[in-house]
């Protein structure tokens, strides 16, 4: 198995989502938001549509773990799910990657640690 495959590895049940790991499994709010804003709606929708039917199962799978002690694969899956919530606003609320009519994203510092 190559290093790349290992980096993308998700729990077996969610193997089909591994194609999204490199782009969307991001550890910080800042990175997830930047990815959302720099993606096209087409790319966002492709990710959203793939994730939506799996979200309940993802939550259930992760519920066997504690946030304090997440294995690598589960951590990757969690970060995918967090990106899903980030883009959900673009798909369900704004119909565009960023927030229209809002102050420019660059002017709001995301300080979340």
């Amino acid at each position: 198995m190559s290093a790349t495959q290992q980096d993308n590895e998700l729990p077996e049940r969610f193997r089909t989502l591994s194609q999204f790991v490199s782009a969307w499994s991001l550890p910080t709010e800042q990175e997830r938001n930047r990815k959302r804003r720099s993606s096209s709606m087409e790319e966002i929708r492709r990710f959203y549509n793939a994730m939506l039917p799996e979200m309940a199962a993802i939550a259930e799978h992760l519920s066997a773990f504690s946030l304090d002690d997440l294995p690598e694969k589960e951590r990757r899956l969690l970060n995918l799910a967090l990106s899903f919530m980030e883009v959900a606003l673009a798909v369900e609320v704004y119909s565009t990657p960023d927030v229209p009519g809002a102050i420019e994203a660059e002017r709001l510092a995301i300080l979340t640690r």
């Binding site: 979200m55 959900a88 606003l89 369900e92 609320v93 704004y94 927030v99 994203a105 709001l108």
Partner: protein, 402 residues
């Protein structure tokens, strides 16, 4: 005095007052700003952070407070006590600590190496023999008064303020007993510096009227009942209660968030555990569609309390035309990944809505700055607390508040 505004005028006794005219002069006058600096910010308790951010001896954070012309170092001593100091070395005044936060055994000035312990005492002067007769005990860090209320750290520029923090916060000081502050964990933290007067910045967050327009995309079905939130002046402070549309139909991700247990700020499914049963000062009207109470703690701290979350806004004037703002969003601490996922929805929705809130502030200030418009025309009900806040500022500036 605590006065409820009777928006429905249901007993038909007192007619509602007409529109309120608030002058824009105080938002654009450098001279007025200087009075605000002297008579408000140098004379009142100011909230600068949470105690749990510095839990252990040696933990510290630094805040530059332009309005006081100083940088403040908050540090927990080896005795467990929190203290606040001006962040400057007593030798020649160089800034002592440059890191925004961290943990230290001692603080050593980068200029000549004078060293202070975590209680502020000067403990080391390199080549001290060349300072013969210098009394180290007289050269500790210069303190500000510091006190803590419900985990919120307040500082006061005077070392012995004439008013205690508890008394300053009246009648709010006892109102939040029992709110689970200890369960709250920092989840989102955002900031911006805008070209706007600090009051103009705050005004965007002291009414719900704007939701109809500013949040027309993010909250398109806003039909809160009552449409006028309960507004309550509380001495120099005030409180606003927000309601939502209970018939809101959540979209898929939002619905999932509710189901997974985020007590989100748009949560519509929490009516079986109404928080007013636990916190008597929140949702005092006991409405099913209560969403949060906002306490505006004079002069520049807005505290939003909802079921399972809180939001802390700080508005720090730089000068009459510039304000540094930051907001911290707290959610209930969890070890559950599912709850964490749910909370992320609330956080992102909150952040995006706040970016909408920030969209009007600079243009409002610029327009007021033009001098074309002498006053704002405010609703005595929908925007009553903006009037209250500006009146309170004016009272301090005139020297009426003691």
């Amino acid at each position: 005095m605590v006065e409820e505004i009777d928006v429905n005028n249901s007993d038909g006794s007192e007619p509602l007052p007409g529109p309120q005219h608030v002058p824009v002069g105080p938002n654009i006058s450098a001279q007025y700003f200087e009075l605000e600096r002297q008579r408000i910010f140098r004379r009142v308790w100011l909230q600068i952070g949470r105690a749990e951010a510095v839990p252990n001896p040696g933990d510290f954070f630094v805040r530059r407070l332009e309005v006081l012309g100083t940088s403040v170092l908050v540090v927990r001593g080896r005795d467990g006590q929190l203290r606040a100091f001006h962040n400057l070395c007593r030798h020649r005044g160089n800034r002592l600590v440059n890191q925004p936060h961290g943990s230290a055994r001692a603080f050593t000035c980068g200029f000549h190496g004078w060293t202070y312990d975590c209680e502020g005492a000067l403990v080391g002067i390199p080549l001290e023999s060349e300072f013969r007769g210098c009394d180290r005990a007289q050269l500790g860090l210069i303190p500000l008064a510091l006190d803590v209320w419900e985990g919120f750290i307040f500082v006061h520029l005077q070392t012995s303020p004439e008013t205690s923090l508890r008394k300053y916060l009246e009648p709010i000081s006892g109102m939040l007993d029992g709110f689970p502050f200890a369960e709250m964990e920092l989840s989102g933290w955002w900031g911006a510096t805008l070209t706007a007067n600090w009051k103009t910045f705050q005004d965007a967050f002291i009414e719900a009227y704007h939701v109809l327009a500013v949040h027309r995309r993010s909250i398109p079905d806003f039909r809160a009942d009552p449409i006028v939130p309960s507004a309550q002046p509380l001495g120099r402070h005030c409180k606003l209660t927000y309601y939502q549309n209970l018939h809101h139909k959540p979209k898929p991700a939002e619905a999932l968030a509710f189901k997974l247990g985020s007590a989100a700020f748009l949560n519509v499914n929490n009516t079986d555990q109404l928080p007013n049963r636990r916190w008597p000062s929140l949702n005092v009207e006991n409405r099913d569609n209560w969403v949060f109470d906002e306490f505006v703690i004079f002069p520049n701290f807005h505290l939003f309390l909802g079921d399972g979350w809180m939001l802390c806004h700080e508005f720090w004037p730089i000068d009459v035309d510039h304000t540094n703002w930051q907001v911290k969003y707290y959610q209930r601490r969890t070890t559950s990944p599912a709850v964490r996922i749910a909370q992320e929805y609330s956080k992102v929705a909150m952040r995006d809505a706040i970016r909408e809130d920030l969209s009007t502030i600079e243009s409002t200030h610029a327009a007021q700055r033009s001098g074309v418009m002498a006053f704002m025309t405010l609703s005595p009900t929908l925007e009553s607390l903006i009037v209250h806040h500006h009146n309170t500022v004016a009272g301090f500036v005139k020297g009426l508040d003691t």
